[in-house]
C-alpha cells in the first residue's frame, strides 16, 4: 500500500524530472521566468483541486476505471483508451527526450536505439515491481533536492541579480504561454500518478498527496529556474539546455568542477522513474480496462512497441522542436479538459454525493454491476 507521503514525493520526483530539461519557459519570458513558475504553481494547485475532487468522489478509482464509471460503458471505454494512448505517448516522448540528451551530452557516438533499449529494460524491471516503485521516491527527492539546493549555493559566485531585471516587461500573452507550458509539461503531468489510486491506503486523500507533490516539486523547479536565470542571464536563449550549461559554470577553487556529471545522473535516474511511472500507468490501464489481473504480461510487448515508436517519432531535431510548441495543447486535452468534463458529468449524473465505491477496485470485476447501476438510474431520472 502506498501512503500519502510516498505518493506526494513520487509526484515531486515526477515534476523534477521534466524540470531539469525545461526550456520553453525561457523562450517566452526570459528573465521573468521565475514569475511564470510561481504563477504556474498557483494555477496548478487549482487544477489539482479538480483531480482531488475526482479522487474524493470516486475513491480508489484510477482515471481509466473512473472514465468508465462516469461516462458509461461505450464512451467511457473510448476515453479510457485515449488515456492509455496518452500515457504511452508520454513514455515515448520522454524516452525520446532522454535519448537525445544522452546522445548529445554524454555518449555522442552511441546510436539512440541503444540508449532506448537500455532504458526500457530498466523501466520494465521497475514496472514489474508495481506500485513499490514509488517507495524510494522520498529518498530520491531528498538526494536530488539536496544536490539541486547545494548547486545553487555553489553557483553563488557566478550569480548576478541584475540578470533578473527588468521585471514584467513582456507582453501578457508570453506569460500566459509560459504558464501554460509549465503547467502542462512538468506540473500537471502528475495526473499520471492517479493511476496509483487503487494501491493507496487512503485513496480519498489522493488530492492532498498530489498537492503536496506540486509544492515540493514546484519548489525545486523554482530553485532550478532562479539559479539558471541568476547564473546564465542573457545566455539563456542561446543554450539548448540551460540547466546543464548553468551547472557547467560551477567552479570552486579549481577543485569542485565538472558537476554536470551529477546533473546528468540525476536527469537519467529521474527520467527513468518518470518513464517507468507512465509505462506502468499505460499497461496497468490496459489491464484494468480488459479486466486482467496481471498487468505484467504486457511488459514485453509494449516495451518493444515503445522502442519502435520512439525510433520513428521525430525525423529531425527541427520536427522535435516544432512538436514542443504544440505539446502543451496536446497535453491540455488530457490533463485539463477531460478531467473537467469528467467532474461535470460526474456531478450531473451522480449528484453531489456519489455512492462511495470500495477502494478495492483494482482493475477487477464489474464495478458497473455492483455499485454503479443504481446510481446511473438515479442520475438519469
Amino acid at each position: 500500500m502506498l501512503s500519502v507521503k510516498q505518493l506526494s514525493f513520487a509526484s515531486a520526483l515526477f515534476i523534477v524530472a521534466s524540470s531539469l530539461l525545461i526550456k520553453s519557459v525561457y523562450m517566452f519570458t526570459f528573465q521573468d521566468s521565475w514569475i511564470s513558475v510561481l504563477a504556474a504553481i498557483l494555477v496548478a494547485l487549482l487544477i489539482i483541486g479538480i483531480y482531488g475532487m475526482l479522487g474524493r468522489r470516486h475513491p480508489g478509482l484510477c482515471p481509466v476505471n473512473m472514465s468508465e464509471a462516469i461516462f458509461g460503458k461505450v464512451l467511457g471505454k473510448f476515453i479510457a483508451v485515449l488515456y492509455i494512448f496518452f500515457f504511452l505517448s508520454l513514455v515515448v516522448l520522454n524516452l525520446e527526450d532522454t535519448g537525445s540528451f544522452v546522445t548529445s551530452s554524454i555518449l555522442p557516438k552511441t546510436p539512440e536505439a541503444v540508449v532506448y533499449v537500455l532504458m526500457i529494460v530498466v523501466c520494465a524491471m521497475t514496472v514489474s515491481k508495481g506500485h513499490k516503485m514509488c517507495m524510494y521516491s522520498t529518498m530520491m527527492v531528498i538526494l536530488v533536492g539536496s544536490i539541486l539546493v547545494s548547486n545553487m549555493f555553489l553557483l553563488a559566485n557566478k550569480a548576478d541579480f541584475k540578470n533578473f531585471l527588468p521585471i514584467l516587461v513582456h507582453p501578457p500573452k508570453n506569460y500566459a504561454l509560459a504558464v501554460h507550458g509549465l503547467l502542462m509539461l512538468p506540473l500537471c503531468e502528475i495526473f499520471v500518478l492517479m493511476m496509483f489510486a487503487p494501491d493507496m491506503d487512503k485513496p480519498e486523500a489522493i488530492g492532498s498527496a498530489l498537492r503536496a507533490g506540486i509544492l515540493i516539486g514546484g519548489f525545486l523547479l523554482f530553485i532550478i529556474v532562479v539559479r539558471d536565470i541568476a547564473a546564465m542571464g542573457g545566455y539563456l536563449q542561446f543554450t539548448n539546455n540551460p540547466t546543464f550549461s548553468a551547472i557547467r559554470l560551477i567552479e570552486i577553487g579549481d577543485f569542485l568542477t565538472r558537476l554536470e556529471i551529477l546533473y546528468a545522473s540525476i536527469l537519467i535516474t529521474t527520467f527513468t522513474f518518470k518513464i517507468s511511472v507512465c509505462f506502468y500507468a499505460a499497461i496497468a490501464g490496459m489491464a484494468r480496462l480488459l479486466r486482467i489481473d496481471n498487468y505484467r504480461i504486457f511488459i514485453g510487448v509494449i516495451s518493444i512497441l515503445i522502442i519502435v515508436a520512439t525510433r520513428g517519432i521525430f525525423e529531425s531535431t527541427f520536427e522535435h522542436n516544432e512538436w514542443k510548441r504544440s505539446a502543451p495543447a496536446y497535453s491540455a486535452v488530457f490533463l485539463i479538459l477531460l478531467p473537467i468534463l469528467m467532474l461535470l458529468v460526474s456531478f450531473v449524473r451522480f449528484g453531489k454525493n456519489p455512492k462511495k465505491q470500495t477502494a478495492s477496485q483494482k482493475g477487477s470485476e464489474n464495478e458497473e454491476n455492483t455499485g454503479l447501476k443504481p446510481d446511473m438510474a438515479s442520475g438519469e431520472t
Binding site: S3, K5, Q6, F9, V102, I106, L107, T110, V114, V115, L118, M119, V122, M125, T126, K129, K132, M133, M135, Y136, T138, M139, I142, D254, T257, R258, I261, A264, S265, I268, T269, T272, F273
Partner: protein, 530 residues
C-alpha cells in the same frame, strides 16, 4: 525475469525429487516400543548394525533378581561419569522389589527415586528412542515395560567460548558463539535475563536431525513474525542441515536476489541487541553463526562497537563505511568510464599523467580492469585457504609480482593498480556485503564499459529499484531509507546517542515502543548535584 527462471528451475528440481521420495517415507513409519526387551534390542541391532559408538549396556534393576534392562547411549555424546554414577549405579543398587509392580509404577519409581539426572522423558516409539539416544541422552529400556526412559547424560567434546574470528572488536565483549547450540542459547540468556526471552526448538533434516532453535522476546517481537519464521522453518524438508547457511537459503524471501535478506552474527551481544529490537534469532546446532531476521541492508553498515563508542565517531565511521561500499562497487567502473568515455571529467594535469602511465599498456581499460579484479579475487581466495606459514609468500607475490613487476613490464597501468587496491581494501569495510559487492562491481564495470556514465547511472538506479522492492520477512530491505522515515534515521547513516534511541525501528516490534525510560540520562541534569 531472472527470478522467474530461477523459480521455474526450482519447480523442475522439486518435481524430479518427488519421484524419489516414496521409499524414504515408508521407512519413517512409527514403530512402538514393545514390552519384550529382547525384541526391542533386536530391533535396535537391526537399525544400528554394528556401529561401534552405540553402546548397549544390559544389567538388572536392583541386583541379580531384578528385572532385566538395557541402557543405550552413544559413546562420546553421553558423559560416562553421569552414566556410571548417576544412572547405572543407583539403578543397580535400588534395593526394592520391582518384579511385582506394574509398568507405570516402575517408571514412576525410577523417575522419582532412582536416577540422579535432571531431565527425564518417557518415550513411546523407537524413532523417538533413536532420536533421544543420538542427541546424547541415555535411553533406558526395561523388560516388560512398553516404553523407554530418556535420561539426560549429554556431554561431549566442544570448543570453548573464544574470540570471534569474523567480527573482531576493539571495545566490547570478546566472546563468540560456538558450535554447541546449548552453549549459544546460554550465551544469549546471559545477556537477556528475562523470562520473556523464549527459545523454541525444531529438528530439521531427515538424515542429520539438526536441532534448530529460534529465540525471541515474547512481548516485543511481533507474533506474526514468529509465526512466519516457524512456518518457513517447518517447511524445510531436506536431508541435511550442516550450517546456518543451509537454513538461510531456504527461508529467504527472494532466493534469486544477490542480496542476502537474512543476517548472521557470531557475537552474542549482537544477537541479543537484535532480539531486543524485536527480531528473531535462529540458532543452528553445529555452527557458531546465528541467523537474525528480518535483516535490513543498513545492518551491514552497523558494527557492534558503534553503540559502545561516542556517537560522533560512530556516525563518522558509518559514513566512511558507506563511502567505502560505494568505492568498492563503483571505483573500477568509474575509472573505466572516465578513461574510455569522459576524459573531460579529469583535470588536465591528471589526465596527462594518467595517459602517460597507460601509454604502453596493450589492453583497453576494461580488459585491464577485469584482469586485475580477477587476479585480486584469486589472491584473496587463495589467502583464505592458504596454510598459515605460506601466507607471507602470497603477500610477496601479490605485492611485488603483481603490483610492481606487472606495472614495470607494461602489462597494466599504475593507476589501475591503485584503483583495484582501493577497491579491494574498501570491500573489507563492509564484510557482510562483500559477496554481493563483487557481483555488483562486475555488473557496473560491464555497464560502464559499454555505456559509460549513462550505464553506471542506470545500473545504480536498477540496483536501487531492485533493493527497494526486496523484503525480509515482510520488512522493507532498505528501511528506514525506503520507505523513508525521519524518526528512524536516528540509527541509520547517522547514529544518535543511546539515550536518544527512544523507540524501536518502526514496524519491527509490537506496541512496546520505548527502549529508554529516562531521557536525558542521569548526570545531564545539573540541578540536583548537591
Amino acid at each position: 525475469m531472472f527470478s522467474f527462471l530461477l523459480r521455474k528451475a526450482g519447480v523442475w528440481f522439486a518435481r524430479k525429487q518427488q519421484s524419489h521420495e516414496g521409499s524414504e517415507r515408508v521407512q519413517n513409519e512409527e514403530v512402538h516400543i514393545v514390552g519384550d526387551l529382547n525384541v526391542v534390542l533386536k530391533q535396535l541391532k537391526e537399525e544400528v548394525q554394528d556401529s561401534n559408538d552405540i553402546v548397549i549396556r544390559r544389567f538388572r534393576l536392583g541386583g541379580s533378581q531384578g528385572r532385566e534392562c538395557a541402557l543405550v547411549f552413544v559413546d562420546g555424546l553421553s558423559e560416562s561419569r553421569t552414566v556410571n554414577e548417576d544412572i547405572i549405579r543407583p539403578l543397580m543398587r535400588a534395593n526394592i522389589k520391582l518384579e511385582e509392580d506394574s509398568a507405570t509404577e516402575i517408571i514412576a519409581r525410577i523417575m522419582h527415586q532412582h536416577v540422579y539426572v535432571n531431565e527425564i522423558g518417557v518415550l513411546h516409539t523407537m524413532s523417538e528412542a533413536f532420536g533421544s539416544a543420538l542427541f546424547g541422552d541415555a535411553v533406558l529400556f526395561i523388560d516388560g515395560v512398553p516404553c523407554a526412559l530418556s535420561l539426560n547424560a549429554r556431554g561431549w567434546e566442544m570448543r570453548s567460548v573464544s574470540e570471534p574470528a569474523s567480527e573482531a572488536v576493539i571495545r566490547g565483549p570478546r566472546e563468540s558463539f560456538i558450535e554447541n547450540m546449548r552453549t549459544n542459547t546460554s550465551l544469549i540468556r546471559r545477556k537477556i535475563k528475562n523470562p520473556a526471552l523464549i527459545f523454541e526448538s525444531f529438528t530439521i533434516g531427515r538424515k542429520t536431525r539438526t536441532s534448530v532453535c529460534i529465540a525471541y522476546l515474547r512481548n516485543v517481537c511481533k507474533p506474526e513474525l514468529v509465526k512466519e519464521v516457524k512456518k518457513r522453518l517447518r517447511a524445510i524438508d531436506t536431508d541435511s542441515i550442516l550450517e546456518s547457511g543451509y537454513i538461510e537459503q531456504y527461508i529467504q524471501d527472494q532466493p534469486g536476489s544477490i542480496f542476502a535478506t537474512v543476517g548472521y552474527t557470531e557475537k552474542p551481544d549482537v544477537a541479543a541487541a537484535k532480539i531486543l529490537e524485536g527480531r528473531v534469532a535462529i540458532i543452528v546446532d553445529g555452527t557458531p553463526f546465528v541467523l537474525t531476521v528480518p535483516f535490513v541492508f543498513l545492518e551491514s553498515f552497523q558494527a557492534p562497537e558503534d553503540y559502545y563508542l561516542k556517537f560522533y565517531f560512530a556516525t563518522f565511521v558509518r559514513i566512511i563505511r558507506i563511502i567505502g561500499y560505494f568505492i568498492t562497487i563503483l571505483a573500477p567502473a568509474f575509472y573505466v568510464t572516465i578513461t574510455t568515455f569522459h576524459h573531460e571529467l579529469i583535470p588536465t594535469s591528471l589526465l596527462i599523467a594518467m595517459a602517460k602511465a597507460r601509454e604502453g599498456v596493450p589492453f583497453p581499460a576494461f580488459v585491464e580492469c577485469l584482469l586485475m579484479i580477477v587476479v585480486f579475487e584469486i589472491i584473496r581466495e587463495a589467502g583464505i585457504r592458504l596454510p598459515r606459514p605460506v601466507g607471507q609468500a602470497l603477500s610477496i607475490v601479490g605485492a611485488l609480482v603483481i603490483g610492481e613487476s606487472a606495472v614495470s613490464a607494461g602489462l597494466i597501468g599504475a593507476p589501475m593498480v591503485i584503483v583495484i587496491a582501493i577497491t579491494a581494501i574498501s570491500g573489507f569495510l563492509v564484510p557482510t556485503q562483500n559477496d554481493a559487492a563483487i557481483i555488483l562491481r562486475l555488473i557496473l564495470l560491464l555497464l560502464a564499459a559499454c555505456f559509460g556514465g549513462f550505464g553506471i547511472a542506470l545500473g545504480l538506479y536498477a540496483i536501487l529499484v531492485h533493493m527497494s522492492a526486496l523484503e525480509s520477512f515482510g520488512y522493507p530491505f532498505l528501511s528506514p531509507s525506503v520507505p523513508f522515515d525521519l524518526e528512524d534515521q536516528k540509527d541509520s547513516v547517522v547514529l544518535l546517542p543511546n539515550w536518544m534511541q527512544v523507540s524501536r525501528p518502526k514496524g519491527m516490534a509490537t506496541d512496546q515502543q520505548r527502549k529508554v525510560y529516562n531521557v536525558p540520562p542521569v548526570g545531564v541534569d545539573k540541578s540536583d548535584d548537591n
